[in-house]
């Protein structure tokens, strides 16, 4: 039988090769993929998150763990889909129109992937229309907006307006972040949530995913 502790450690240390091999082995041994995910992989990623929160891990360490997690998930997801288990959700992420900052956005994207979300990265300087398209055509149920400039913050409001205009505002959740963003601003523009850090963004996305209308 596969050593679950080893798999857990492989995620923790960001050893993608081992993580994948151990997962493969476990699945061959007919371990229930849902069980493997819930009992080993997610707890490992949660520990990574905890180590990051408590300032033990730095981003590079978190990223290689997220990559190891992703390589394991690639094997598990198709099996889950067969069984009708839902993925965590699909997030379209981008830095808003006029804003060129991508590091924060990339970090959130990587964390979301590591957290089991499917991530559509729209890049930087993204128009409201592109976010609408991602929600409509790529099935994103969460839109994550980043802005680092106070002058580009208003573009976030435009994305919300564009979603409304397209008639899909109720079926997607909007989360926002970036240095100048505050909860107050999120409330003001009618966003569904705000986070000022990457691992907070994953927790936020989880809670938003739980609230997405079933139809989505």
């Amino acid at each position: 039988m596969v050593d679950r502790e080893k798999l857990y450690q492989a995620i923790l240390t960001g050893d993608a090769k081992s993580a994948r091999a151990l997962t493969e082995e476990a699945l061959k041994e007919s371990v229930d993929p849902k069980e493997l995910l819930d009992k080993t992989l997610i707890p490992a990623m949660d520990e990574v998150g905890r180590l990051f929160e408590t300032n033990e891990y730095f981003v590079p360490e978190l990223l290689i763990s997220a990559r190891a997690m992703k390589s394991a998930l690639e094997l598990i997801k198709p099996l889950l889909a067969e069984k009708g288990a839902e993925p965590a959700g699909r997030v379209a992420i981008g830095t808003v129109k006029g804003d060129l900052h991508d590091i924060g956005k990339n970090l959130v994207a990587a964390m979301l992937e590591g957290g089991g979300f499917e991530v559509v990265d729209l890049g930087v300087d993204v128009s409201p229309e592109a976010f609408v398209t991602a929600a409509k055509d790529k099935g994103a149920s969460i839109i994550a907006l980043s802005a680092l400039l106070t002058t580009t913050m208003p573009a976030m409001k435009k994305v919300v307006a564009a979603l409304e205009e397209a008639g899909i505002r109720e079926r997607v959740k909007v989360m926002i972040g970036g240095a100048p963003i505050t909860q107050r601003y999120a409330d003001e523009i009618g966003a569904d949530g705000y986070s000022d850090n990457a691992s907070g963004a994953v927790a936020l996305a989880r809670s938003l995913a739980a609230k997405v209308p079933a139809a989505a």
Binding site: F58, V59, P60, I103, N106, L149, T150, T151
Partner: protein, 458 residues
């Protein structure tokens, strides 16, 4: 491309206010000739840059510069530098940026005439090539907008022209997130210098035959990104400290081809530029806390020639708008330096207190110690090419940090210690030949984010 015989100053002569090659600009403003002056940066509160808001935007800038000039006169500053860093749409659409430049320049001139204010305007357009991935570095609408802007800037009233160029940032960003020293050195030591030679050719030709001084470039997109991430506990501080020093050779390219300083405020690596290129430097620290919290609040001031607030929005505080508040704080900081600066011995004392304030607490502060700067600078000066200089800078920084840590002159938190070794190993593994580094790195890049041919590589 060897740095041609740089005259690295002696520690006793490495002081705030004094640069080997002072710069005169604007309204009889001398920089680096013995007096430290404030550099004030200011920007808008959140507002969309669009035609409907344009009248309001013009007014905001007008109010800011008017207020700033008035208070500068009241505070009797010996001189002042104003920086206008455009917002991206103002570079994409040069007419906008140039219109604001004219408003600022006219107001400054008016105060010079009416009150004898000695001031100059530094104009810093955005490097908008960074807008797209993969970025086009030498063609396309972003490049063309920048070129148009640069060439018209002197005629709109820019006394100094600067930029925060982004060549190599698309590669460095990935390298930073992964603390991948090789990749960052590839960006800073190979890509950025190639881009800067090209871009700075354009800036120098824009300034030629005008009174506009080509001032400087900054590794803001590299070293400050690392600094901010380190301050948020996302990256090790030792890594950010190494990147700081490794960004020096890149910055030097601008001065080698003809930039004259003062360096950009957000180039915290400024002391190295002052040591190696002899240019006056603008620095920011505690008084720029409005823009960055940092761990170099005092030491950053130690050998500055301009002292800056980095950037602040037009937010109303209890006393006045935030830019005016920044000006007041900077002006008093400069007064203190200039009083102490009346004697070289006193200047050294103040410098050393500023240094001792911070240098033991953080490796990013430690590498800004004037003595460390001079030691590493002489090592950098001995290398012939930007790549080898960058490699040397990284290795020397790591060696200095390690030694200081071992000798108890620098504290490194437990969780960072494993990084010291890891980084030293990565630095040792950097190849001797630039071609080898290129050959190693290119296959690890993706054409989705980076096009080698934009740097003359392929």
């Amino acid at each position: 491309m060897p740095v041609s015989q740089p005259t690295i100053p002696r520690l006793e002569e490495f002081l705030f206010g004094h640069a080997r090659c002072p710069v005169t600009c604007g309204n009889h403003l001398e920089i680096g000739a013995g007096t430290v002056i404030p550099e004030v940066n200011f920007t808008l509160q959140a507002i969309e840059i669009c035609p409907e808001n344009w009248a309001d935007i013009r007014e905001q800038y007008s109010l800011m510069i008017e207020d700033l000039c008035r208070r500068a006169v009241e505070l009797e500053v010996p001189g002042i530098l104003f920086e206008f860093e455009t917002l991206p749409p103002m570079t994409v659409n040069p007419a906008w940026g140039l219109e604001i430049t004219e408003i600022l320049s006219e107001t400054i001139d008016r105060f010079h005439q009416s009150h004898g204010l000695r001031a100059a305007l530094r104009l810093t357009p955005n490097d908008t090539r960074d807008h797209r991935r993969p970025p086009r570095m030498r063609s396309g609408p972003f490049w063309e907008g920048m070129v148009e802007f640069l060439h018209k800037a002197p005629h709109a009233g820019a006394d100094l022209l600067a930029i925060e160029s982004t060549g190599g940032k698309e590669v460095s960003d990935e390298g930073l997130m992964n603390a991948d020293l090789k990749k960052v050195v590839f960006a800073l030591g190979v890509l950025a210098p190639r881009d800067m030679e090209y871009l700075w050719g354009e800036i120098l030709s824009a300034c030629e035959g005008t009174d506009t001084v080509p001032s400087g470039d900054t590794a803001c997109g590299f070293a400050n990104t690392a600094m901010v991430l380190a301050d948020r506990n996302m990256l090790p501080k030792v890594f950010a400290a190494v990147i700081r020093v490794a960004s020096v050779p890149r910055d030097l390219v601008a001065y080698r081809v003809g930039a004259r300083g003062p360096s950009k405020d957000c180039a915290y690596e400024g002391p190295y530029l002052k040591a190696l290129a002899g240019v006056p430097i603008s620095m920011e620290g505690r008084t720029a806390a409005c823009a960055h919290l940092s761990h170099v609040g005092n030491i950053a001031q130690a050998v500055c020639d301009c002292w800056s607030n980095e950037s602040v929005q037009k937010v109303r505080l209890l006393s006045a708008d935030a830019p005016t508040v920044s000006l007041e704080q900077l002006a008093y900081d400069c007064r203190l330096m200039n009083v102490a600066g009346q004697s070289r011995e006193d200047a050294r004392k103040l410098r050393d207190w500023l240094v001792e304030s911070d240098s033991a607490l953080d490796p990013q502060a430690y590498v800004l110690r004037p003595d460390v700067v001079l030691r590493i600078a002489s090592e950098i000066a001995r290398e012939p090419t930007p790549y080898l200089q960058t490699r040397r800078a990284a290795r020397a920084a790591l060696r200095e940090i390690n030694r200081a840590f071992e000798e108890g002159r620098l504290r490194i938190p437990d969780r960072e210690r494993r990084w010291l070794e890891r980084l030293a190993k990565e630095a040792e593994e950097l190849p001797d030949r630039e071609e080898d580094l290129i050959a190693e790195c290119l296959p690890e890049t993706s054409r989705e984010t980076f096009l080698p041919e934009e740097y003359g590589l392929s």
